[in-house]
Point group: C2
Chain length 123, copies 2
């Protein structure tokens, strides 16, 4: 159905379950370090960084990027993180984003049954 449309980029959704180290996902510095590493690896331009910490320690962090955005939401009470990376950058295939997802899951110590979805967005 999309064959006539040009890609506006790929949207990576990662739902990371079974996170054992809830300290990391409540630590703003550790989260920013992770997001910085992703931006460096994918050569993404950071326009600004924002975060909010909830009373239970949960953190929401969002980077506005020259290429769109990256978001992080932790749910320490569920050992869960939902991350998104929407980038208008064009990659030859999905391997780069799959590698990024694996890197994030590894850093957070998430479960192998975490969900990694890559969605095409089209002009």
């Amino acid at each position: 159905m999309f064959s006539n449309f040009e890609s506006s980029g790929r949207h990576l959704l990662i739902d990371i379950r079974g996170i054992k180290n809830t300290d990391v996902i409540c630590n703003k510095e550790a989260i920013f370090n992770l997001m910085n590493a992703v931006c460096e690896e994918l050569d993404l331009g950071i326009l600004n960084k924002n975060h909010f910490q909830f009373d239970n320690g949960a953190v929401t962090a969002i980077y506005m990027l020259r290429e769109s955005h990256i978001s992080f939401h932790s749910y320490p009470e569920k050992n869960f993180v939902a991350m998104d990376l929407y980038s208008c950058k064009q990659y030859e295939n999905d391997e780069v984003l799959k590698h990024t997802a694996s890197f994030i899951i590894t850093v957070l110590g998430g479960s192998l049954d975490s969900d990694v979805r890559i969605i095409d967005r089209r002009f």
Copy 2:
């Protein structure tokens, strides 16, 4: 595959094509008004609002919400907007989010062939 998992919320992706009024999608106030209206309609709590305007008029706007986030990226040169609403709020069915998507597409004067996708995210 998800039957054993509890929902962490729904993620609405809207790719809006064929936008005729590119003035609106380059106008930060109009964009914030739209995002405010969505938050009011869905009773979402705004934690902070950020935006960035590119040299060609394109606007990126992101609200950090108590319930997750809402993002807006315009591509005036393509008559295109990509919006996301990820909310951990639970709705009885998808009608509320579909109605929100229709409202946004109508306000922006987008094409009827715009893409509306609703994705389940699970703990």
